[in-house]
Amino acid sequence: MKILVRLGDLFGATRLIPIQSTHLSGVSYKHLGDAAIDFLDELASKGGRAQTPSSLNPSSLDQEILVKRYSKDRVAKQQHIIELYKKMLIQPTLTCTPYYVQKPKPTQHLAWSESSAVVYANSVLKAWTNREGAPSALAAALVGKTPNYGIHQPQNRQPNVLIKLETKLSAETDYGALGIHLGKFLKEKIPALEGLRGSDDELKQLGAAMASSGMTARFHREAPSKKEKLETMTVEAKDVEETTSNLCTTDQKPDLVFIGCPHCSINEVKSVARALEGKKVRKGAELWVCTSRHVKEKAKNYVNIIERAGGRVLCDTCVLVTWVKDLGVDTLLTNSAKTAFYAPTLNEVDAILRPLSQCLKTVCRS
């Protein structure tokens, strides 16, 4: 309660408002660490219980593959964290794509953390959530309310920068690179991307990337009526090309090919399956396709094709929140700009950014 009220006071909230759901980051033991466990334990023991539907971000391991590759101590600590959240009645969905599990409706007020989910919920699904922190989202879950500042107030939803796209975006990596490029300039500002098209999956890449290099919570797809009054920024082909190139930190052969940041939609799992049909993953190469349990269940047939080809479909986790370096990975190949952006610092590995078709070509036998 203290957290919510203080944040509300600081950012000009007038009252607490009820929310339809919360989504919590701060799940992976890799980032949470030991002392936060004490904090969660205290909350759970003192009777903290979710007052609204609440979901969790990915953990540092899945229950089939990684659970067998890490030490007993690490696994136990990770499971303990999840148990503490479950005790507080928070659903162990363990995905950064809670919108696939339970789709928010337009104009619903939410309190979500996980920046990629926030941007998607606000921009594609037209719900309203601030970019919550891990503890503030947890506080909102336990109280069932959030202070009505930021995006919960209509005047804060309008764009303040107009982006003129003078380049064609073809692959999903173009959307991601665009996001990384924009985020650096925008910081917290809300952009209107005039003429932006793209599938939901491509917009998901754009939003996740934008939220990684910057602090924005929302983008608009149309220019507003009073666009002459807005600060303007132009994006050309060379900006996207340069960003893509800078996100590649090496030209070495990858140890791991990773698809699924953010977690794959059913459509994305289908695309991987289609590309892998009749092919086999090279011996010594490793392919991870990460998604939520919810999507894995719904895309069962496609999952089978991927696994028959030698790829692995992992739930509950992803590269950024697990200890890939400990698994012997030094170079990562991915189609996610967000992963390419973070992996060098969060995982201390090199990254290469390529569209899905190229990622899969690299990992298969010719």
């Binding site: 944040l7 600081l10 980051s25 002392a35 904090f39 922190g133 891990a134 503890p135």
Partner: protein, 141 residues
């Protein structure tokens, strides 16, 4: 003996988290991210290219423009303070949620809207999170 007249200076800002303390200032002119930027066990700054790289946060009055980066950073700050490797207080130019929430749960004083260019590393400062003030009481000879 240095003149005391020039040493006392009061900087007025906004109180973010209550509490008062006195300590040695550790000042940076760059934003700091607790997740990834600070070693989670020792409290040493590890952020590449940071002007505080290699410095220990323990017991210092940490002054920097604002935080950035993952919100899990709030838990990192909490964890450092609980372990005894964390700062004594936080002084920012602009408060952001990650640092604010971290300071609340760690229960350390925090003040923002302070012109941190007026504080140098090594200064002895008193932080008052209730009044939103930072008082420079010595220049750390």
């Amino acid at each position: 003996m240095k003149h005391l007249k020039a040493t006392r200076k009061i900087l007025r800002g906004r109180g973010i988290v209550t509490g008062r303390c006195k300590g040695i200032a550790l000042v940076s002119q760059k934003p700091l991210s607790f997740l990834g930027g600070v070693d989670y066990n020792s409290g040493i700054v590890i952020e590449k290219g940071h002007d505080l790289k290699g410095e220990f946060l323990r017991d210092k009055v940490l002054c920097f423009p604002s935080g950035h980066g993952s919100t899990v950073g709030s838990y990192v700050l909490y964890s450092l303070v609980k372990k005894g490797s964390g700062p004594k207080a936080i002084v920012n130019q602009v408060a952001d949620t990650v640092v604010v929430v971290g300071a609340i749960i760690a229960e350390i004083p925090m003040v923002d809207q302070i012109d941190i260019k007026q504080i140098k590393t090594g200064y002895i400062v008193e932080v008052d999170g209730d009044k939103g003030m930072v008082k420079i009481v010595g220049r750390g000879d």
